[in-house]
Symmetry: D2
Subunit: 353 residues, 4 copies
């Protein structure tokens, strides 16, 4: 860690996303974590709340105080509940100080349209910032990330869904509709608050869909991202599932080819071309994505197959929901915003098995 390390604060340090930010940031060569905030666990050492951080984090958790943070940190990562997150972002920006970048990991700045936000989440505390925030999915668009001061880190399902299908949509190899998205997630995506759905005896030996038929809040985010690429309104049928594992999202997207007579190799070629220079995307050719192979890393595995019999394109991706689907991608965005190397602090090999 260099003498002139950038000071960062993590707000929302008692959930899995906050903990994962810490895991990534303590090994980042360009930053120094100066503050952890979390109202629920304020006053406790970080290692009491998360014993796995032992030996690497000596900080205590503080209450969330925008003015104090803005004075001490150049970068603030917000891993707070939606609604609360936007309010804190607003306060941080008002506080000024040395703060120059907010990376928000909640849903608060992902949707550009206030009406859509209101429909899914309720009133927004600072709708004027919605158009200002930059959507931080670098592989889709790095535009605006350099120098950004407010970045919305994408949701885990949208990341796993957009990556395998966006290049095909952009190249007009598939029809923008109908799209079916069937996604499977580990339980950590539901957060650290104990619930019956995440109670091990209930969850450990079964698979279940939830919030089906367009009722999951990541639906409009997926549609917004895909519509922008397609240049037309994209509507998806999105089905999330909970699986008996801690981490990982696998998303399968089903699409109609724009030309059924096309050489099936075109789909793979398109993905390879789109991602050949991407440091965090592996396009698989002979194998298929497996969340076990990206655990703990910022990598996405993508693949595509053409179902000749049915005339349908199947695009798939595997990510770690807490890394490429949250903390890792947020750090990737910070790297781009501050002019660091895009992969700095994010090189860790996936943990397998």
């Amino acid at each position: 860690m260099a003498h002139d390390a950038t000071s960062v604060a993590v707000l929302g340090a008692s959930g899995y996303t906050g903990a994962e930010l810490l895991r990534v940031l303590v090994d980042h060569p360009r930053v120094r974590v100066v503050a952890l905030c979390g109202n629920k666990s304020a006053g406790q050492p970080a290692t009491t709340v998360f014993p796995h951080l032992a030996g690497r984090i000596a900080l205590d958790i503080e209450t969330v105080d925008a003015v104090a943070i803005a004075e001490r940190a150049e970068v603030a990562f917000l891993a707070l509940p939606h609604g609360h997150s936007a309010q804190v972002a607003k306060d941080l920006r008002a506080a000024g100080g040395k703060l120059r970048l907010i990376v928000d990991l909640s849903a608060d700045f992902r949707l550009r349209d206030h009406g859509v936000y209101r429909e899914w989440y309720g009133e927004h505390p600072c709708p004027e910032l919605l158009e200002h925030a930059v959507y931080g999915l670098p592989e889709l668009s790095r535009e605006g990330l350099a120098g950004a001061d407010l970045i919305a880190a994408p949701g885990c399902y949208p990341t796993a869904t957009v990556l395998p299908i966006a290049p095909l949509l952009r190249a007009r190899l598939i029809e923008p509709s109908p799209l079916v998205v069937d996604a499977k997630s580990g339980v950590s995506g539901a957060g650290r608050t104990p619930s019956l759905a995440a109670h091990l005896p209930e969850a450990a030996e079964g698979v279940r869909p939830y919030k089906v038929a367009g009722s999951h809040r990541h639906t409009p985010e997926i549609e917004q991202a895909l519509s922008r690429i397609a240049g037309t309104d994209v509507v998806v049928t999105f089905t999330p599932h909970l699986l008996p594992m801690s981490r990982g999202i696998l998303s399968c997207v089903y699409a109609q080819p724009s030309d059924p007579g096309r050489d099936p190799g075109a789909y793979l070629a398109c993905l390879r071309s789109a991602y050949q220079d991407e440091p965090f995307v592996t396009v698989l050719e002979d194998s298929l994505p497996d969340t076990a192979h990206v655990r703990g890393s910022n990598r996405a595995q993508v693949a595509v197959r053409y179902d000749q019999r049915a005339g349908r394109v199947v695009a798939m991706a595997a990510i770690d929901n807490l890394v490429k689907g949250a903390a890792g991608q947020a750090v990737q965005c910070m790297n781009l915003a501050l002019g660091f190397g895009e992969t700095e602090g994010l090189g860790a090999v996936a943990m397998f098995p």
Copy 2:
């Protein structure tokens, strides 16, 4: 067990399907297991191969000998590899004896068209029996099961896929194409032979698709069953996945409504009407299927939702792949074939948690 219990033999007693047949059959009030056959484990007590049968099965495993079996058993369940199974069925029928019913749990008699069988499995040892065999999915059609002497127990994926969608297709509430089937299975579906894919450290913390884009052998079986109902050729895009759990299949089917303006309540009403008298199908209204809730039982949970935004029907089912997807359904078919009560021996409550 009555004095006049029907004698049954289980051939293929060293795999999970064979073991599950035993688990069900030893508590069946109308039958007596008189023989277990398995070439790999011949000579060993059944409880050496499967210690969980201790105290309930005193038989040793024998080599597969059609003539000997036909002399001792009225019913033979075949839990053998495809190809081998048809050959044994042919031999059993030739042997005569007291045998009056074969329930085959392999794929050998599921496809009625020899050409289709050949394409997916190779040459069939007795194609003349293909049209003679009765496809044993009672909820779809009980026709022919009473008095049948050769029954093809359906595959696990086809069972979980056909149940939630067949009534909608029959009532013409959905278009016969395009259909997308995204299915998730526990690892026991891959059998008991150790492999890297089922090695716990490889499989325990990830989800992965396999045999995608129409390459899984259950594809033609699903299409055959649905085409018969639809009265027209149905082609599906079928994607199976392996999940980190032992048992269970969850299948999601995505379909276009035949009339987008229809009252969305019609889909649920259709399933409820179709299954109101079925002893093994629960139509869920306020909740969604969960394989953890049908573990060890012959029950299928089905549900349907209409995605109003995208104009798409999502039909779902959860079963235990080894029970309703294999052994339990095979016993259900035997019950119907021999005139027993359909639920005899199959009443066990699911094991949860």
Copy 3:
């Protein structure tokens, strides 16, 4: 279910023990479940609280009302929290009615000494009943179970610990001290109330001891049972662990041989002799206990080995904590108390895999 089935009530129908009692009782040929009580979930259908009971239980859950229950049920199973359970037992006995047997699955009637109970659990609501209750571990002692009207079903850890070591202690093959008990449990043992310790992402990929060094409440119960057999005070060091699985307890007991020069075959011979007529105990000779082989069944697997190098006896047992460790054993006790066949309703084969 015969015309003259015995009426039973389950009190505490919203936890895993209550649900498991229902799973066992609905298939019991001699009883009829007439009431389910649970204050938390009163008013709801049993199948709403436990969807896996669908198709087999049509009752709604009632509030706990001793007088009403005593009028309708001959047998009451109490699956309530300790303290509350004893109070309800007292009320049921006072109510009279047709009630003739209470099987309590809480800890309230397991300890015979009020002083010991008070030390570990606090004041007892009806200490006068402590000596009256019969400790229901049939393999240890069937004495008193026939005709009993108040039975204390043993704890899960004590069952798994006492079974493998009691015959050796009784035959004076081992020293009564020092005994070390290292036990491993699935998470369902901690109940259905969501907690961080049982939250899947926290619990799914790790093993941890808890309440070590004599602080777990099952310690005095183990000591009481072993002391009675040994005829002298036995003190154990007991270490429970939570494992990433739903069901099962494996207990390893380490003891000193009373005669190091004894033929090591004596230990196995002792267990075989003790359990040769027991319907629910399998003494393993060439293999070792595995909780996966007793899942869902009332069976206990026991084994013993002599460590020649270290001069130490290692006795082991595997049970399903919810069956032999709770609901199954409670039903076994009812069978003995009411003069039913001991195995009635308890024959289910373990569910494997």
Copy 4:
């Protein structure tokens, strides 16, 4: 990675230990991986054998060739089967070249007594090296590691067993016998070769002991390490278990206090004093070890409790069997042997959840 990075080779690149060495070494600031060898997978890219290495390792796997390796690598890590490993070590030393350090992760150089080795493993290919090799458990003894040219990385069970008990033994707070060691391991410890014992449906929902009563090969290694500390022969009863998880070992050691009247705080004080400056050992005070909190890290959590009632000391440790129990500790030894900082390349935070 500096210009003058030390060249290292990993021999045995197709098992979990080899893969874990790669995961650690590619982020080590002082080394460069120049060769991977594995006869089974020779010719394939490393990322074909282990897809999780994608993006970080570009090497192909070579056949094991001692002369070629000794010419290219200064350090060789051997993750080969025992017997084979010693032979390769012998060949490497004979080859000369630039090689200056061998770290062997097999059992071949852990036992100093050829007679003991022969009893447990068979004839040793180069017994003359047994006394030359340095046992690489730095927290026990750093003596000899600086400048060593042949290091035996300890076994996973011995590491987890020795760490919590060694300081107590050295300080004579406990009796050297009898010691009981009850250890629990994730399935990755059994290697990557598919087997029924590690087949997910067999292993995923149960716990089982194996090689009990002094038959596991780690027994003499534990005894050798403890005897050296105690200055007298220590004999342990060691019981390993397989648990339904991929990684992690939890070991509980039960010992008699040398003075039952001692202040119980002395045990914790002893561990704290012994490990206060150790970078990879966390002595827990208010909590207990949990393998989920050290996953993927080189950290060991240790704790001790005194069971006042039974007069017994319970010492516990949790490690990741593939890191502190194998690859991480091997790299820690290399760091010490070559004069690097002990923690270089080993700082990664544990992956939780």
